[in-house]
Symmetry: C2
Subunit: 313 residues, 2 copies
């Protein structure tokens, strides 16, 4: 991979799906002067209107075809469930030589769909590992991708045009502040199953289990959430549709890491039942090291409680 | 419960166990002018020395007995596993009429031990639902308890002296900024099992499961932790001894809520296996409402990513 080229500049970028990720990338590209013009298309007419009035995009289109007309960069930033239909549209309407990137949280399913796009359209599957629990164009901001990793899982093509497209996609992500890693889609899906998909599944599950408990009122759960529960509610507040699509499209890897989690949980459950303090202590001791490593890598704040409680408040 | 009295002032407070909670309470009492003198005792001589040089306490004692001599307030802020021995010490050495509060995260086990303290010593079990993932005297700060709930689980005594002691304990927590709630120990242990103990158990489990996965390197887990995993590492970085003691002393309630969690997880596992998007979406939709309620109740920040990513960074 080469470093960001000063010359990286797209004539027309088309953002398909103007939500948190699409809007953030549009803001970041604008801040970096990476595109002469940014067009947007979203299925939701209201989102289109809001994106335009927020200045996220220069213009909105009434269809995928209209948005990508003349575009040398197409950004697919819808939930993963739309990937088949978006690939059909890209196949039919994207310009020859256009770079198409997606931002989907799973990559095997994207690769499969991307292979059906004609070869003149250069589809590089991408996953920026950055986000928040919010969605919609209002949630977007230019610095979202800074110091975060973006994973590229290029298709199995060795032609020069495609290799250049992969370089250009990497340069784009670097230009918005990300570190770039290249790997195969299967490994991506397993690594993200443990670092992202399983944590979300568990957070959703915990919130659901709390909701189902008749013996403890919701008001109490809210009051005493500072005991730890509130940490889980952040990711459990993420978009249900996006996450439904992730689990429907990364089934195998999620079930595999879920199996590991369940084994570990059974071990701790037994230790609690039998009063085995040694096992509990041993398992509990592992947490600090990994958090320290995450903080050291610049992926997390070291302020207690994520810094949300002000010491001098 | 009456409101905080202006006259609330202890002659001598003895803090037993000068860690995050003990030191925070000492700081808060000093800031509020709630004690003429604050003495501290900790099993660890190094902690005693650090607490003294940090100015957390006015003096340190070499024993429990020495610390509580002349104290009209005794604060037990060690891990819950020490409660039996602390109660034996309080029985033998605390002054007649002294108010004794603990801060332990479980209350049934504390009540049982507290009943063995002689009646002239007024033991009011307390749990401030406030904390951070850090421990030790350096971690303490005066505002930790502000706007958080403190739960009192008074013993089954109706004498006037004890009722006055409960009032005084409530006034103490209010004076450091907390809201006070009174309930029975069994209900406390169930409510906290879902809002605090289970979240910690699950966070520890997830970190352990990630650690065990040979197919994904730790370096990758660190890099891609912004996908969600990092949220869990905060509470998984909490003190292993404190948490071992919580699980050893709240076994039944934890196993009960863990059962609920496991059922809910099995439901989602089946939905993923069978591609049942409707069920996934339904469960995932519950998260936003509860987070909104927690934010509205002042127990959480509404900034995306807990505010740890600066938009203008
Ligand atoms: N959120 C994160 O933290 C995060 C992080 C990394 C990657 N990602 C990935 O990035 C993608 C976008 O996520 P997001 O959080 O930005 O989602 P979002 O805020 O919900 O935005 C997605 C937008 O796409 C629109 N859309 C859906 N189907 C479409 C179609 N066929 N054509 C045009 N627009 C369509 C949606 O409209 P409707 O509402 O009308 O459906 C919505 O406005 C997802 O694939 C996700 O997996 C997300
Ligand atoms: N941390 C939280 O978020 C939180 C929140 C609410 C309530 N609590 C409860 O508050 C209590 C204290 O927690 P913490 O976080 O403040 O713990 P901490 O920072 O680990 O401090 C506890 C201190 O007590 C000392 N200690 C242990 N046994 C003792 C004994 N028999 N006599 C005197 N000192 C002793 C420990 O010394 P050694 O290190 O030498 O053992 C340690 O210095 C626990 O019961 C916990 O359940 C904690």
């Amino acid at each position: 991979m080469t470093e960001t080229s000063d010359a990286l500049k797209f004539r027309r970028a088309a953002v398909i799906g103007i939500g948190l990720i699409g809007a953030s990338l549009a803001h970041a590209m604008r801040a970096g002067g990476l595109a002469e013009r940014i067009a947007g298309f979203d299925l939701d007419a209201d989102v289109r209107a809001r994106a335009l009035s927020l200045g996220v995009v220069d213009e909105t289109a009434e269809s995928f075809a209209e948005a990508v007309k003349g575009a040398d960069l197409v950004i697919l930033s819808t939930p993963v469930g739309a990937i088949d239909s978006l690939c059909a549209e890209a196949h039919a309407h994207a310009e020859n030589g256009a770079l198409v990137v997606d931002t989907g949280s799973v990559k095997g399913a994207v690769a499969e769909a991307a292979r059906r796009v004609r070869r003149e359209v250069l589809f590089v599957p991408c996953h920026p590992v950055a986000g928040t629990e919010q969605s919609g164009p209002e949630a977007g901001f230019a610095t979202l991708f800074r110091q975060r990793w973006c994973i590229l899982t290029p298709l199995d093509r060795t032609d020069e045009a495609y290799r250049a497209a992969v370089e250009k996609a990497a340069a784009l992500w670097r230009a918005v502040g990300s570190h770039v890693e290249v790997m195969d889609a299967a490994h991506h899906d397993l690594a993200l199953a443990i670092t992202s998909h399983l944590p979300h599944l568990i957070a959703f599950t915990l919130v659901g289990a709390a909701d189902d408990l008749e013996s403890v009122a919701e008001a109490e759960i809210v009051k005493y959430s500072a005991g730890g529960f509130r940490d889980f509610t952040r990711i459990a507040a993420s978009d249900p549709i996006m996450w439904r699509d992730v689990f429907l499209h990364n089934r195998e890897a999620v079930l595999e890491v879920l199996g590991r989690f369940t084994e570990e949980l059974a071990l701790l459950q037994r230790a609690i039942r039998w009063g085995d303090g040694e096992t509990l202590k041993k398992v509990f001791t592992r947490g600090r090291a990994i958090r320290r490593a995450i903080v050291a890598a610049g992926q997390e704040t070291d302020a207690p409680n994520f810094g949300r409680d002000k010491k001098d408040a």
